[in-house]
Symmetry: C2
Subunit: 404 residues, 2 copies
């Protein structure tokens, strides 16, 4: 199947539109749509927020039946075929007399994949699939991960000196990286559905773990959306029950006097053998997860299962070296985001990644460099796990006529 | 003083010519020269090797007196005024009836700085100084360092995993970085006048420390020069006298059966309290330097003084973490060249930079990021020492008429 240059341009435009939803659509995916007639764009839409119009509907909304008749629609994700929060988009495209629909990728949910396309085909619409599929997948790594693996896309943040240290021997670590790198973290937090940290980190740094919209980095007009940017859920591992009532009233995370995050949800994770306290704050809730006493850590796999069940597409892990190492050692991460500062912290400082020990080079953990970005005097490196390659690979799905 | 756009272009060309000498001119500086008449380049020259023609002479060599009369010469370094290995270039420009000479920078040797320019001015030549001075200085960081500080420009190489480790706990370190990064090292070695390493490294890796011309990275026609690329002197610190006769006949460094470096000089550094053995190889010699028994290391300052006295412009330090840390801890380096591989080597692996320990963030060593280069899956980062800024800063030198 071959696509024209114009097809590529229109789909690229739809992908750009979809990106505008990056801070707001979860748990829904980012989707963009462009309606084209006589080689001109006559309608544009993107999905902004769960419960509001899908991209196709937003692209069609101002168009007359005359305009849409015999037009082409470019959509980054297969139009839906089920009555959910809104009527099925496939039907809306059919009702608008759209002649041709170009789809970047199938719905990742195997139960519905192909159904929207079949609906269109059965109505006589010319459907083409697979244009800029990799780019379309890149829009929704978190959503795809949850659909395909039942677990979120996991990004683990590290901040390191040039010599691989996260703190001095006495625990001092403010500030390893500069202001630009710290602001850069805001964009990752804002894209996340949940931030995972630990009671130790929250108490040591009195961390708010909140999103400051004014520090976000994006390049499109966005004033109306900035207002809607959600604060991610905070999931705090607390194996020792440190986050008691006293701490909850003192810490910025829990709406202390410094906090600007009122109303956001905080999930405190306790051992499944613990007795849970009554919550002192109405935005705090407790969950219990299995704890591995010999390894002295929570069962990360069980945590990721919990996240998947609770519609968390993207998990941003921002804590100390020990938690980061748990994810890396068990290969339960998708990407490492590493900030490296031009500092040497020397002997006895704390290792940024205490995994191992390893006895042979073949045992060491191999990553794959994905991006490299300069932030003032610091660098941001993103590395992907080997398993990531499978997670985001293009999936070929046969489309057959349904046998129902 | 203002220079025209054409002046800038011609000087930039002279600088590009000078760069061709980067692997061959030491202990002399890299110098380029362009002769321009009626806004056209009529002669080009660059210095290739000590004992052969200077840039000005090479630029003039094919030109007639008629051509050079009233021409302008662009030179990256002040023309010499003394009879050395060749006759003074200032006189040759005067003899050629050059009307105007544009000079990027003064001779860095304070004993002769300004003398070439005065000679030209006294002959009625219109001399302009300071065009693209910083670029001209960048050509000759090693030569300038030796002239201005009596010590070489010191580059310390590190190869590290992402988590700041140079070897596993058991010493394994082959290979942390990939083939592209290892080839990249060749270019640094080739630019160096001497490579500094240790007996420990040479024995553990059976390292040749040689330059393989076919792996060098440059972007100009260079076939004739490749043949002339010199093997840097190897300076090997040997505090325990490990490089005895037996090792010398077994190791690749000493023309062992694997070696391709016959004829190059090897300097073995022993403690000044040691009795020196008679050399077993005719390309090996011994020197003695002070040794700090309490810190368990040679006096690096004394080593750098020795290098300066022996016309070593650029010193490339390629050994283990301990030697690199000695340079960094004492701030005796100009740049760190760090290769970072996408690997995690984990706990108990060896720190790449064992300095300190430090008790406060203010004590940690701050570097300045200069360049960032992707090499396959690895990165090369160059960081400069704070003192470097002074070393390469433009030096204002008053030019006065001599009072002799």
């Amino acid at each position: 199947m071959s696509f024209s240059l114009a097809d590529h341009e229109f789909m690229a435009k739809a992908i750009k539109l979809a990106q505008r939803g990056q801070f707001t659509t979860s748990p829904n995916p980012n989707v963009g749509c462009v309606i084209v007639k006589n080689n001109e764009i006559i309608g544009e839409g993107w999905h902004k927020k769960a419960g509001t119009g899908h991209a196709e509907v937003n692209a069609l909304v101002n168009l007359t039946a005359e305009q849409t008749t015999d037009a082409t629609a470019y959509v980054t994700l297969e139009p839906c075929s089920h009555f959910g929060r809104t009527p099925p988009c496939a039907n809306q495209l059919i009702d608008a007399n759209i002649k041709r629909v170009v789809v970047a990728m199938l719905d990742p949910n195997p139960l519905v994949a192909g159904k929207g396309i079949l609906l269109l085909m059965q109505a006589g619409v010319d459907v083409k699939l697979g244009l800029l599929e990799l780019d379309a997948r890149a829009l929704n790594l978190g959503f795809l991960s949850r659909m395909e693996t039942k677990r979120p896309f996991v990004s683990v943040k590290m901040a390191s000196s040039l010599d691989g240290k996260s703190a001095l021997g006495n625990g001092q670590s403010k500030w390893i990286t500069g202001a630009e790198a710290r602001a850069d973290v805001q964009t990752y937090r804002a894209k996340a559905c949940a931030i995972l940290s630990t009671a130790t980190t929250v108490i040591a740094d009195n961390a708010k773990l909140n999103v400051r919209a004014e520090q976000l980095n994006f390049s499109y007009p966005f004033d109306d959306v900035v207002k809607e940017i959600r604060q991610p859920i905070k999931i705090i591992l607390d194996s020792r029950g440190d986050l008691d009532d006293k701490h909850q009233s003192e810490l910025a995370l829990f709406d202390g006097k410094e906090s600007t995050v009122s109303g956001t949800s905080i999930i405190i994770v306790r051992k499944d053998s613990d007795e849970l306290p009554a919550s002192a704050h109405n935005n705090v809730s407790y969950i219990q997860l299995p704890y591995d006493e010999s390894a002295n850590r929570f069962d990360i796999g069980a945590l990721l299962d919990w996240c998947g069940k609770n519609e968390i597409n993207n998990l941003w892990v921002e804590a100390g070296a020990k938690l980061a190492a748990s994810f890396v050692e068990q290969s339960l991460f998708d990407q490492l985001i590493v900030y490296i500062a031009p500092k040497i912290m020397g002997m006895n400082a704390q290792d940024v990644m205490p995994v191992g020990p390893f006895d042979a080079m073949e045992q060491t953990i191999e990553l794959q460099l994905k991006t490299l970005t300069l932030l003032g005097q610091d660098m941001r490196l993103s590395y992907v796990n080997k398993s990531y390659v499978n997670k985001v690979a293009v999936k070929a799905v046969d489309i057959k006529e349904s046998e129902e």
